[in-house]
Subunit: 250 residues, 2 copies
């Protein structure tokens, strides 16, 4: 009898089951209470099999994050293809990141954990490679908008910078704001009076104005434009947020 070799198909299916089981646990109990034992218990395979797919618990967390990035990527793409000036779409991409963090708070929390050094250091290199690749995809969407702005002469690239650097400017700005303000549950001094959507809007305008990316915020009512555009791009998502009592207040 020839040795049966598992086809890639079913291997992937199994991996997918594990990832989904893990996400379920995290959604019910929080990342901080996530364990491999619980995963194994809620999946029809043994520990050994689970460990054949994943280096360990941290590796599972990164795997979840890698999947989440597909959702985020879709958000980015929808924002990027909106018809509007490049600058407006840049703003919209950042707001799509915010939408993502609000609609999928657990996934966003997983992302924050996945990025923390103590987790990343325990992951399989191939999974880190996938993570990097997905991240690059996201940055390329931003890069495309920047390139278009340059082509349309809305924006003149500073001599000392490349496209990747302008990408990173935008991304790190949004990441800083959203990650620092996303742990909203506590009643804490520091974040009092800060509204994530407003800070994101303001900072984005400052940053792009500082880059001289036209049209400047003084010449356009970006607030109105963003509100309108979001309703076009994310109608169902906004409804879902409103249902949860969350309303963007620009």
């Amino acid at each position: 009898m020839s040795p049966r070799v598992l086809d890639e198909q079913s291997l992937l299916a199994r991996e997918q089951m594990i990832i989904e089981a893990a996400l379920n646990i995290i959604e019910r109990e929080g990342v901080e209470n996530f364990t491999m034992d619980k995963v194994v218990a809620s999946v029809p395979f043994s520990k050994g099999t689970v460990y054949k797919h994943f280096n360990g618990k941290e590796d599972v967390i990164l795997a979840i994050n890698n999947q989440s990035l597909v959702i985020l990527c879709d958000f980015f793409a929808r924002a990027a293809k909106y018809e509007g000036s490049p600058r407006e779409r840049m703003l919209l991409v950042n707001f799509s990141y915010l939408m993502y963090s609000l609609l999928h708070p657990v996934l966003f929390t997983v992302e924050l954990c996945a990025r923390s050094p103590s987790v990343l250091e325990r992951c399989a290199q191939t999974r880190i490679d996938t993570f990097e690749a997905k991240q690059t995809t996201l940055l390329l969407i931003i890069g495309g908008i920047i390139q278009e702005a340059v082509d349309k002469q809305h924006f003149k690239m500073p001599e000392t910078m490349g496209v990747e650097q302008v990408c990173f400017s935008n991304w790190s700005m949004a990441y800083g704001i959203i990650s620092l303000l996303s742990q909203q549950d506590e009643k804490c001094d520091v974040r009092a009076g800060l509204k994530v959507e407003r800070e994101l809007f303001n900072n984005n305008n400052f940053l792009l104005d500082g880059m001289q990316w036209l049209p400047l915020s003084g010449d356009r009512d970006y607030k109105k434009e963003v509100v309108k555009a979001l309703e076009t791009i994310f109608p169902e998502e906004l409804a879902k947020l409103a249902q949860a009592g969350l309303r963007l207040d620009l």
Copy 2:
């Protein structure tokens, strides 16, 4: 015989010993390998005593972070009192955060961990309060610079914003850049071509230019000023970095 009651003095001394032992372990083995067992083994008290001081492992991590913030606070203060325009000092405060992350990479890593939701959720409320308080102190230093810029009419506060919001703009910008670029060890696509000091410098100028905070970057050679100021404020620290092969390349 009257029951001996431990004075606060020795309680604090003991807590300090535990914190230092923990930091030692983290410095040797990394946050990801930090355990309470190891702490107890390297300290002359029993498990029970350690747990009398700390809610658990995460609580110890936050305690370390709270202490580290004193060092960071000193860095901020030194940058803030440099003689120079408010805008220059704002830039310097952000660079002092960068200096801190380079000089104390382990402490900065601990900060990233401490901020991650899975850790924060397990800490004692009083320790979280201390964390918030220290954070507020940091933001107040930034706030003082902003206030001074307003007083000197270098900067007109946007009508829709308060001082805390401008503080947060600056802080989140620096935090986003430094935290995303600080896990430098891996050879990863995304961060290729990005230099943390340069991105921080550029983004800060964009942000402040966008805010119309005078003097604008076109009217001043901030690069030269920052280099000179850092040599004045952090001479020993820069030497230590250079010794480690790290040189700020603006």
